[in-house]
Amino acid sequence: MGWSLIRLWALLVYLFMFLPVAVVVLLSFNASQFGAFPMTGLSVRWFVELAQNEAILRAFRTSILLGTLTAGISTTLGVLASLALVRYRVPGSNLISTFLIAPILVPEVVLAVALLLFLNFMSINKSFTLLLFGHVIFTLPFVVLVVQARLVSIKRDIEEAAMSLGASPRQTFFEITLPLMLPAVLAGALFAFTISFDDITGTLFWKPGGVETVPTQIFAMLRNSISPEINALGTVMIVLTVGLPLLGAAIARQLARNRGG
């Protein structure tokens, strides 16, 4: 079979992946009244309207707060657990790993229902707290997977060298292990933040009435009709969720290079 045929196929698959997204970005600069073709000219008016839309700004604040708290908590839990699994000989560590990633093996809808009903039974109603609990448990497996994969590559020798030169375990951790782990920790936190920021499946179950995150706000706006404002919001989301990880990766590489050089 021809290699050129495979290349053409791959090109078409990439087009399929990116064309619809590119159209969202294109239409967000549409000057026309309606969020659709034909385009009548280029304009940034929809971004201006976006910046003045109180509901959307509120959704952004909610999403950023939720994402930041989620990232903080689930990265802390995930890093501690990963350290235990990578650094110690724990009996049944395979079982523990599977246990820790169970939240993504269960369909998210089921997780959402179970958590909602159980916490409601425990008198925790639909609230920001419930959202936070949900996002933490849902992002934890990703943090564990990412951090564990990177921790494996940090050699124990360096720590042992530090200890043999007289550093205490505490000193070793804060001056050797933690700085070496920093890229892994940042990657985990970034991952957790992005997943939380994007989530809609669980969020629709857990959010109290009147509270919207950015994805649920977009979803609510879709109920009416697709307006250019949604496309503009989509463009902002794409820039944020694609830009942040790329920025994070660049920073991590820079950190690694500084340490290496």
């Binding site: 196929w9 990439y14 309606f34 802390t76 523990i96 369909p107 933490v136 496309n231 989509g234």
Partner: protein, 288 residues
């Protein structure tokens, strides 16, 4: 306490917050809805505690639920097959290309970071009545009235494929990368044609990746309710939509519990079968 004892306790101290969180926020809630599914929601809206089979009887024998469950599995299966057909050659291209493999991979990872709801709704811009496709066809004079292409089962599958394809490509890519390229050359030098060496060497060796990608596509596809709400019509509800309806709209939580557990049982069985034959390690490779 001796040093060894303390040393042995340390990992458990590090693990305990995460283990506690998963226990209290996943496993206890799952056990709770199992109990809850035997309670009854009375007409007044209060729960009647007890051991009733009514919800399970309704969920398991009502034709309505069974048809939607079967339809959900059908949609997930078609989505998985389309993902495999589209994704395998693309993954093969990335794995065997001599050029910018890093860039190709990065491009592939990008959709993971682009919001699911944005990617889903982006198809409205393409296929909608005043979308890109209709306006192109209109301006070319091929049609004179905009076509109604959205809000049917095909667009639901399209949306799911668009969402899940990167999972398939990534998993196949990971397993193709692990295959020694010289194996194909060896088959070739022993007289196999390129097509034969692919069919008899490369394809079988990459099956674990294909299976991992397939499992992810199927389970994630069968558990969705957002895509049918955005891209489907009124009759394209999937099983997760029924769960959402029961829990959020009708507030019949015991029935919602039974329906959730039904979905978990069906999809969980697939995960267990997969685990039995291929193990979770393959799945982690593609995720991590």
């Amino acid at each position: 306490m001796s040093v060894e004892r303390r040393e042995a306790r340390q990992p458990w101290i590090l693990l305990s917050p995460a283990l506690t969180a998963v226990t209290l926020l996943l496993f206890v809630p799952l056990l709770f809805i199992l109990v809850y599914s035997f309670w009854l929601r009375t007409a007044t809206g209060a729960d009647q505690v007890g051991f009733f089979f009514d919800n399970w009887q309704e969920a398991l024998t009502d034709r309505f639920y069974r048809d939607i469950l079967l339809n959900t599995l059908k949609i997930a299966a078609i989505t998985t097959i389309v993902c495999a057909l589209m994704g395998y050659p693309a993954a093969y291209f990335i794995a065997r290309s001599r050029g910018n493999k890093a860039i190709l991979l990065l491009l592939l990872m990008l959709p993971f970071w682009i919001s699911y709801i944005i990617r889903t709704m982006s198809w409205i811009n393409i296929l909608g009545v005043s979308g890109a496709l209709n306006s192109i066809l209109l301006s070319l004079g091929i049609i004179h009235q905009p076509l109604q292409m959205l809000y049917n089962e095909t667009t639901v599958i399209l949306g799911l494929v668009h969402f899940l394809l990167p999972f398939m490509i990534l998993n196949v890519f990971v397993s193709l990368e692990g295959i020694d390229v010289t194996l194909e050359d060896a088959a070739h030098s022993l007289g196999a044609t390129r097509w034969q060496s692919f069919l008899e060497v490369t394809l079988p060796l990459s099956l674990p990746g294909l299976a991992a990608g397939g499992l992810l596509c199927f389970v994630l596809g069968a558990g969705t309710y957002i895509t049918p709400l955005v891209l489907g019509g009124p009759r394209d509800a999937m099983f997760a939509n029924l769960v959402f309806e029961a829990v959020i709209t009708q507030l019949n939580w015991p029935l919602g519990s039974a329906l959730s557990l039904m979905l978990l049982a069906v999809l969980g069985t697939l995960v267990l079968i997969y685990n039995r034959y291929l193990g979770m390690a393959q799945l982690m490779k593609g995720l991590g």
